[in-house]
């Protein structure tokens, strides 16, 4: 469950990235977040993961109030989340398998679980033949799929994906999004940032559109309603 009330964010250099965002995402929902480049989508995601703090407003994610949260609790909030970052954030020095396994080690999973689960999610994203590669030996789309696998591996309560298909071909994109939908059906909340109009329209889910740091529409119509 995510609740943002009147959230504002100004970066150190003065950029007002968010100018009063309020939104609530209930458990089990599937939400698309859309908006033009620079409108503040990634900023929202960084706020939800606690990577940056809001200048104003309150944010509650999976029961953790981000205003009150102690640094020592932050890891436990993050363990309830599976995040696909826009810039992937893979560890260069670890291979595909270890990049994903690492996320399970971090939450204290047992070796047996890790050995069973990691190959499974890597197969889901179509990387089962490339587990020993380092990120720089992968294509852009493959790196993105490693990031997706890592977000899925811990069976999080909430999946947050920032442009998870920006580097994927239409067929792959559809596959990944279908996978997300399936996971959502099993009870996981999903929040996807995307520019892909076609995909948004095809899935008919709730769409929150922001522009210039403000919510400009929020509807169940599944329509990508930002247009030239």
């Amino acid at each position: 469950m995510v609740r943002m009330v009147n959230v504002c964010k100004a970066y150190e250099n003065g950029t007002k990235a968010l100018k009063g965002i309020s939104a609530e995402i209930n458990d089990g929902e599937f939400v698309f977040l859309v908006g033009p480049s620079g409108s503040g989508k990634s900023t929202i995601i960084k706020l939800l993961t606690g990577e940056i703090a809001p200048t104003l407003g309150s944010i509650v994610v999976n029961g953790y109030d981000l205003e009150m949260i102690k640094p020592a609790q932050m890891p436990f909030l993050r363990r309830t989340l599976g995040v696909v970052f826009q810039d992937f954030r893979l560890i260069d020095k670890k291979n595909v398998y270890d990049n994903v396994a690492f996320a399970m080690h971090a939450v204290g999973a047992s070796s047996r679980d890790i050995k069973r689960r990691v190959p499974y999610v890597l197969e889901l994203v179509g990387l089962d033949t490339k587990t020993r590669r380092k990120p720089n030996e992968l294509s852009g789309g493959e790196q993105q799929r490693v990031a997706i696998a890592r977000a899925l591996v811990n069976n999080p309560q909430l999946i947050i994906a920032d442009e998870p298909t920006g580097n994927l071909d239409p067929a792959r994109s559809l596959e990944i999004m279908t996978l997300m939908e399936r996971i959502n059906k099993l009870g996981t909340t999903v929040l996807v940032v995307t520019h892909e109009k076609e995909l948004v329209n095809r899935f008919s889910k709730r769409v929150i559109a922001i522009d210039n740091g403000k919510v400009i529409s929020d509807g169940m119509d599944g329509y990508y309603n930002y247009e030239t």
Binding site: A103, A106, V107
Partner: protein, 295 residues
């Protein structure tokens, strides 16, 4: 479970050493370099001081026996002299022996011709354990019944004490300075080598790793690098010392230097190296990580 985790951390630390190969190599070699600078100077100081000690022990004073004492009476004093704590040994020299020695020394001078040994006294050549306490020992010797007078070169005693004190002070100052500078260089190097890991750490935090989880592999890594550096430095130091000792014994002038055998120094040196290596390794990486953990 717990043990399992630490073995994971250890494995991660070791992996990290290899995946950041150049950085690890650089840390270790700089640790080695710094330890060798420190170690060489410490060994030099130890040798210099052992040499001063040796020279010191060669210094002697003369205790003249009362003129009234017979040869046997004089000889009997020996155990009284040796009973004084600071006396290392006391050798009896009779009047006749003393004259012989004078004659052989100033023989070609007409001055001593025809002098009878009766104008001289029985005497003891006394070596001290600690030359710094010469004045005190002189008084104790003079207090012995039967000793008329003690000839001691107090200014030499003073000189030795001064030199010893100067050498000790200077070398302690230098060793401390070298230690501080070396620790600084080493921990800075470890900081440098972990500097480019801030992104890695940020990613780990984003995935839900606790600070401890991130810290431990780094600590192990630092400990291992420090330990390996210390071992290599120790072996190199050993080799250098060994070669230098051989060279010194070869050279005719340098042969005068009596070197302390490495065996006597090995254990404490190894201890100091390993301790410094571990402290610097773990400390260096911990300080860097602390900075990046606030993500």
């Amino acid at each position: 479970m717990r043990r399992n985790r630490y073995s994971y951390f250890l494995r991660e630390g070791i992996n990290s050493i290899f995946t950041h190969g150049f950085m690890s190599f650089a840390s270790v070699s700089i640790i080695v370099a710094c330890l060798i600078i420190m170690g060489s100077f410490t060994l030099l100081t130890i040798n210099v001081q052992s040499m001063i000690k040796k020279w010191e022990s060669e210094n002697q004073m003369l205790a003249f026996v009362d003129e009234a004492f017979s040869n046997d009476q004089a000889k009997a004093l020996e155990k009284d002299l040796r009973a004084i704590p600071n006396v290392a040994d006391a050798t009896f020299v009779s009047k006749d022996d003393a004259l012989k020695s004078y004659l052989s020394q100033f023989g070609d001078n007409d001055l001593f011709k025809g002098i009878d040994s009766s104008v001289l006294r029985h005497r003891y050549i006394v070596h001290l354990k600690e030359i710094g306490k010469m004045e005190e020992s002189k008084k104790q010797l003079e207090a012995v019944k039967g000793i008329a007078k003690v000839n001691a070169h107090l200014e030499i005693s003073q000189g030795f004490v001064t030199i010893t004190r100067i050498v000790s002070t200077v070398s302690i100052i230098i060793i401390v300075i070298l230690l501080v500078i070396s620790m600084f260089i080493m921990s800075n190097t470890i900081k440098l080598t972990t500097f480019d890991r801030r992104e890695e750490i940020a990613i780990m935090k984003m995935v839900g790793a606790t600070n401890a989880f991130i810290r431990w592999p780094f600590v192990f890594e630092g400990l291992i690098l420090g330990f390996v550096g210390a071992l290599i430095a120790f072996l190199l130091q050993w080799g250098i010392y060994y070669v230098l000792v051989i060279e010194i014994n070869k050279s005719s002038t340098m042969k005068l230097i009596e070197t302390v055998p490495f065996g006597q120094l090995a254990l404490p040196l190894l201890g100091i190296f390993v301790a410094t290596g571990l402290v610097v390794g773990a400390g260096g990486s911990l300080t860097v990580i602390r900075k990046y953990l606030n993500v």
